[in-house]
Every structure is written in C-alpha cells, then in structure tokens.
Amino acid sequence: MEFLLVMVAAAAVIVIVSAPFRRGGAGGAGGTGAAEAEEAPVKPDVADLEAAREAKYREIRDAELDHQTGKLSDEDFRLVDDALRAEAISILRALDRAKGSQAR
C-alpha cells in the first residue's frame, strides 16, 4: 500500500513536471504549454513600459487626490500634473514604438 502511494505520487510528479515537453511536440524543448502558447510572450521592453505606464497613472491619480484634498495648491498641482502627463505621454509614445517593432 505504502509503495503504491509513493509510486502514485512519483507518477503524478512526472506528469506535472514533464507536461510542457509533451505539449510542445516532439522537439519539446522549444515549445510552450497549449494554454500558455495562446498568449504571445511580452517583450521585456513592452513589459517595462507597461509597468512604467501603470506607475505613472497611479502618480497622476495621487496628484489629483492630493489636489482635491488640499495638499497641493492650484499652482503646484498644475506644475506637477503637467509634468506627470508629459512623462506619461512619452511613455505612451515609447510603448507604441515598442509594440510596433514587436509586431514587425
């Protein structure tokens, strides 16, 4: 019984660990899982820029809230907000370029 349990556990491990090779076809090594293959891998540059974009949006939102709650004066807010939006736009442009080159 104990031996059988260990064998079942070992077989389950082999099935789980070897799945990417089996799904990838004969060559195996270059393949990805069926589910994962559906998603094109995101290039590092694009991933970087998307992370930067999310952070910038958060920053803009924080500045808006700081302004609404009176922590930033109208003048300070305009300066900060303009700067942040300019930075966001440059990130968006870079992101578009990166996505364009990835598509090619």
């Binding site: 491990v13 990417p20 393949g31 970087d48 920053e59 609404q68 966001a88």
Partner: protein
C-alpha cells in the same frame, strides 16, 4: 505511513534539484519548456509537502507514538486542539511547516506571474527552488519528522505547558508565513539583479507578497506579544528576547521597503536602496529562522542547539549575503536613480528619512540581539543585555517614526508650498498641543516621563493627520459625486486602497504605541505574599486573597487562588489565577514527588482587561515545602511497595500495580487538596497597567489597514485612469 513521508521528502528534494537545473537551463537557452517545467516543479513540491504534512498531522491526531516527534511532543491526554498544533513545537515539524509554506506561497507567486516578467521568472524560480532544496535536505538529513522507533512508548511526553495556549495554533504559522513569503520578493529582486531588469517591474510583481508577508509577520509578532502577556507569567508583552527580535527586524525592514518602493515606482529613484532593503529583509528572515532553530542565543522560544544544523544555516546566510552584495556592486551602474528629489518638503523626502530611521532601529536591535555572541567572540563569555539596553535607542527612534507617520500622509508628492504645508499641519499640530496641555493639566506626574508625554503628543498628531486626510478625501469625493458621507468614505477607500489602507495602518500604529508608552511608563507592579483573607494594595486598589483552589487530574495538578479587587470599598472585579504542575517523566523524582517537583509548570493569569487599564495577577506556588515531608514519605512507601510487587509472578503484577497507581493518585489528590484545607502563604505578582488594550486595538487597526492595502484595486478604477491619461495624451498631441 512514515515510510511514505520519508519518500515524499526525498522525492521533493529530487524535484527541487531538477527544478533548479531546468529553470537555469531554460533561462540560459531561452527554451520555455524547461522554464515551465522548472516552475511546475514548485507546484509538484507544494503537492508533495502538503501530503507529507498531512501524514504527520494525522500521526499527531492519532497519538501514533511510533513517530519520535509525536512521542516527544504529544500525549494521549493532550487536547486535540494542541495535538494539531504540536507539530510545529518540534524542530522537525516546524522545518516541515517551513518547506510546506514556502512551496505553497512560491507556487502561488509563480502561478500568478506565469505570463509576466518572463525574463525574471526562471531565475526567481531557481532561487525559490534553491530554498526548497536547502530546507528539504535539512529535514531529510538532520531533522527528519518521519523518524520512527521500533518500540513506541505507551504514553508520550506531552506538549510543553508553556505552549498550551490558543495562540499556538496561529502564532507560529503566521510568523513562518511572513518569513517564507519574504523569500518571494527576495528571489525576484535577485532575479532582477541577475538579468539587469531593474526598473519597477519586479516590484510591481512582488509588492503584494511583500505586503502580505509584512501583514502576516506583524500579526505573528503581535500574537506572540499577546501570548507572552497572558501565558508566561511575568506580566509583560515584549522582553526583547532574541527570537522576538528576529521576527521584528524583518518586519521593520519590510515596513521601510513598502514605503521606499513607492518612490521607485513613481520616480525611478532609490533603486539600490530598494533592492538592498529587500535582500536584507529576506536574509533577515532566514537569520530569524536560524535563531529559532539554532539555540545559539538564549531564548525561551528557541529549539535545542544542533551544531550541524547551525553550520548549514550559517553557510546559507553567507551565500545569501555574498551573492546579494556582489550582484548589487556588479549592477551599480544600472541602479542609478532616474530623477532627483524635487524638494526636501515632499513625501519622498519624508519617506527617505523614515526609511533611515527604520533601518537605524533595525541596526540597534540587531546589535543588542547579537551582543552576547559579539561579547563572547571578544571576551570569551556571553554577556546578555536586557530591555534597559534597548530603551535609550529604541524609544527616541520610535518617537520619530510616529511623528513621521503623521507627517507622511499630509504632505504631497514631489513638491509642496509653505502655505499648503501650514494649512495641512494646523489641525494635527493643534491636536498635539491640546494633548500636551490636557495631559499636563490632568495627569499628575506625567512630567516624570517625558518620552511617554512626547509619544502621546506625536501619536495625537498622527491620529489627527490621518483623520484630517479621511475627512478631506470624503469632502472632495462628496463635492464630485454628491454621495452621502458614509458612501463617499467607502468609495474613497475602495478606489484608493493603497493610500487609505496605509493611512489606517499609521493610525493603528499610533494607537498601538500609545498603549506601549502608557503601559511601560505608568505601570504599577509589586509582589505580595499572602495567606487567604489577607490583602495587598496597588495603585489604589485593594486586592484580597479570598480563597485557594486545588484541582488534581491525571494530566496535571493545579493550585489556584481567587482574588477580590476593590477600590474605595467598591468591588471592581474577581480574579482567578492558577499554577499548574505537570508530572515529570523522570523516575528519580519519586512516584509521588514527580507530580510536585516537576520542571514543567504553567501559569494561568487572572486578568481584568479594560479600555483604560488592566488589572493583572499571577500566583506562584512553586514552593511545596509544606507538603515535602509527606511527599518523601509517600515516595518511600510506594518505592517499597512497588519493589515488593515486582517480585510477584508476572500474572499478578499488573493487577497489583494498578491498585498501587490508584492509591498513588488518591495520595496525590489528597496532598493537592491540602492547599485548600491547610493553605500556606503564596506569592502573587500584582500589576496594574494603563492602556494595554490600546496595544491590541492598535494592532487590529494595523491589520485592517494592511488588508485594505492588500486588496486588489477594482478594474473600474484602473479604467478610469487609463482613459483619463489617454485623454491627456490626445490633448497634448493635438496641441
């Protein structure tokens, strides 16, 4: 099933080693199948370790004494609740818990990142599997939970009485969850250094795990403090014990990390600082694990020292430090900041200062925690340092942290004008000032404790600052949406969870530290030796020892006391406290003596907890000398009787022996009841502490804030920002 357990551990080790190789090979060659296979190794290990952990849990619940750890830490009389928790009271069981939790959290992290940060994931997987390899190897080679004995004892030694506390079920798993979760940001930070991808990506991926680790570790630390307060019988909640400090240090560093990563996310600054902080935090978590396991420093929490285990841990810590430092130096050019501080009057500057204070606090705690080892290396003898050594450094630093926790929320990012600053500071500063005036007017003797006074004022500042932020946020929200105030509050928090979760944590911290400052500065405590009917006074209360109680049982004997507390002639509360003695397994103490002269004792405190103060007491009945003559006589008689019985034919022995044990139990019961019929004077520790409840209440608020910050941001909020940003982009491009 022990053989299955051992096989699962070995299988886990093999899979972990393979996974490290597969992940690294996949990363080097860019072949995703190998990377995926490596990641799936972690899933498989989580399954194997869950199975292994279940086996050992079942062994404890069934009192299967063929397992050496079950016979060493449980017994048939141990309540089921404690049997389940007894697993992690042992070195072997707690190591298995460590590997299990590590594999479960790592599986979750790797599953959630399976389609993200693809350059980092293989290295992070290899590092996490490396940790699994290390701890599984330790479990197999030096602390195997599945080791068995051919001749199992009929009864186990039972769980250490000090561990019989409801917190035992939650406190260790919480601390271990914190430690093991910290391995995740550590692994991704190292992966970022290895690959050179040092932007905010790795932070965004692991921030939630760092926050969850911080939350769990914080809950674990607080539960440990509560345990100490209600179980250990010394009347305090924090003793600066090495193992307590070991959990506090990574918590402090992760607090600093959670603040400073916001600066990197927003400004691309502090990259070296952030990566160093999380590497130090991860290393500190392993040092904490090592301190518990090694017993190198004297602590009531530590396991027995094991030199082989110690060498392994020292080697792991050395590898972690050397690798971290080398990689940070190697990548120093890529870790340069992308921008500079706009102004010293900005939230970035406050966060930076707060970070330095938190790191300084950690350094102080580290120095005094390891001072016994340092002194031993220099002088040859271990010199212990107690709480008085910590206080001169910790108290001022804690004061600065509380003040900064109030300043942080009311100061804006990037820049702020003096006019706005004055407006934001006015209400919190007024609250601090009012607190100062009221305390100086109302509370006599508060001058004698200037640090406590400052703490109350700074905490009032922080609480007022947080309240002001919530109020302003609700007002702004109502102006935009015309929602009712409660709905506006919920919407505000829901859409800005990180911000308002953080503010809630700051408020909780202020409440918690008010409790700490008040209870440590204005505590009254005294020892009183009393007979039934006698009284002692403390802080205006009259405490009368009403009557003794005695409860003999097969598990333990318990001497107790009922105390009546009154003030100005009015009854305040009735306290029940007891002192339990667990029978020793050492036969040399005598058949009767082993029930009364055991080293295993437990104290049940009498506590009347209130919002303004706690009345706390514990009885010490360690002195059983009034019974000693009869105990010795009983031992002699029973030894003689048992010697006679042992000479009888085996068939008669069992029956006679059972009769003897029956008489013995009657004698033990009779001697125990003498405490009631012929009471002797016993010593009580009486304590009146103000605002201890605030400490626990503050902890709950901190936990609530952590949960709010941890909760995912709703998709709606993200969309709103995205469209707003795209609108801004369109406007700019049109212009």
């Amino acid at each position: 099933m022990a053989a299955v357990g051992r096989a699962l551990l070995i299988l886990g080790l093999v899979v972990a080693i393979y996974g490290v190789g597969a992940s690294l090979y996949g990363a080097r060659t860019g072949q995703r199948a190998w990377v995926d296979s490596g990641r799936r190794c972690m899933y498989a290990i989580a399954g194997l370790m869950t199975f292994a952990f279940l086996i050992i849990e079942v062994a404890f619940l069934r009192s299967d004494f063929s397992y050496t750890i079950v016979s060493g830490a449980s017994s048939t009389t141990t309540p089921t609740f404690y049997k389940a928790a007894a697993v992690w009271s042992t070195q072997q069981g707690s190591l298995l818990l460590w590997v299990w939790l590590l594999s479960v959290w790592s599986t979750l992290a790797l599953f959630l990142t399976r389609r993200r940060v693809r350059e980092l994931v293989p290295y992070a997987t290899a590092i996490l599997l490396g940790f699994c390899t290390f701890f599984t190897a330790l479990a197999i080679l030096f602390a195997n939970p599945f080791s068995t004995t051919a001749n199992p004892p009929a009864e186990g030694a039972g769980l250490d009485p000090l561990l019989r506390h409801t917190t035992m079920m939650i406190h260790p798993p919480m601390v271990y969850t914190g430690y093991t979760m910290l391995a995740i940001p550590f692994a991704f930070a190292l992966a970022a250094l290895i690959t050179g991808r040092l932007n905010a990506e790795w932070i965004q991926v692991t921030r939630r795990f760092a926050l969850a680790a911080w939350l769990c570790l914080g809950i674990g630390v607080l539960l440990g403090a509560r345990w100490s307060y209600t179980e250990l019988g010394w009347g305090g909640y924090w003793a600066w014990d090495p193992v307590e400090n070991a959990a506090l240090m990574p918590w402090l560093l992760s607090t600093a990390f959670l603040h400073s990563i916001m600066i990197q996310e927003k400004r691309g600054m502090l990259k070296v600082w952030n990566v160093s902080l999380i590497l130090a935090t991860g290393t500190m978590a392993i040092i904490g694990t090592f301190l518990v396991r090694s017993g190198i420093l004297s602590s009531i929490h530590a396991f027995v020292s094991d030199p082989t285990l110690n060498i392994s841990f020292v080697a792991l810590i050395a590898v972690m430090i050397i690798t971290s430092v080398s990689l940070v130096i190697y990548r120093r050019a890529d870790l340069r900041s992308e921008s500079r501080l706009d102004s010293l009057l900005s939230r970035e500057a406050v966060f930076l200062f707060q970070n330095m204070v938190l790191v300084a606090l950690t350094a102080v705690i580290f120095w005094f925690t390891f001072f016994p080892l340092i002194s031993e290396a220099i002088t040859g003898t271990q010199q212990s340092v107690g709480p008085p050594a910590f206080r001169p450094y910790v108290v001022p630093l804690a004061l600065i942290i509380v003040l900064l926790s109030g300043i942080g929320p009311i100061i804006a990012w990037r820049r702020v004008t003096l006019t706005n600053l004055r407006r934001s500071f006015a209400f919190p500063a007024a609250a601090a000032l009012v607190t100062l005036v009221v305390l100086l007017t109302v509370a006599s003797g508060v001058w004698a404790h200037p640090f406590a006074l400052l703490m109350f004022c700074f905490a009032a500042f922080a609480l007022a600052a947080v309240a002001q932020e919530f109020w302003r946020g609700v007002r702004a929200r109502r102006a935009m949406t015309h929602e009712a105030a409660p709905l506006a509050l919920v919407s505000l928090v829901r859409r800005n969870r990180r911000r308002y979760g953080g503010y809630t944590v700051h408020a909780g911290l202020a409440v918690l530290l008010i409790g700490v400052a008040a209870s440590s500065s204005f505590q009254h405590s005294r020892y009183a030796t009393m007979r039934p009917g006698q009284s002692a006074s403390i802080d205006g209360y009259n405490v009368r020892y009403v009557k003794p109680t005695a409860t003999p049982s097969s598990e333990k004997i318990s001497f107790g006391a009922v105390l009546d507390v009154s003030k100005n002639g009015h009854h305040v509360t009735t306290l029940h406290t007891s002192y339990g003695l667990y029978p020793s397994q050492d036969p040399s103490l005598g058949v009767v003596g082993r029930f009364f002269n055991s080293g295993s004792v437990e104290s049940r405190i009498g506590l009347d907890a209130g919002f303004t103060h706690d009345i706390w007491t514990v009885v010490n009945v360690g002195n059983v000398s009034p019974l000693q003559a009869d105990i010795t006589k009983g031992d002699r008689l029973f030894a003689s009787a048992m010697s006679t019985v042992s000479k009888l034919p085996p068939a008669q022995q069992q029956g006679r022996m059972n009769t003897l044990f029956l008489y013995r139990d009657q004698l033990v019961g009779e001697l125990t009841r003498r405490f009631v019929t012929h009471p002797w004077p016993v010593q009580f520790l009486l304590i009146v502490s103000p605002l201890v409840t605030w400490l626990w209440l503050g902890g709950i608020i901190v936990g609530l804030g952590g949960l709010i910050a941890l909760w995912p941001i709703p998709v709606l909020a993200r969309r709103r920002v995205r469209s707003a940003a795209y609108a801004a982009r369109l406007a700019r491009e049109l212009a």
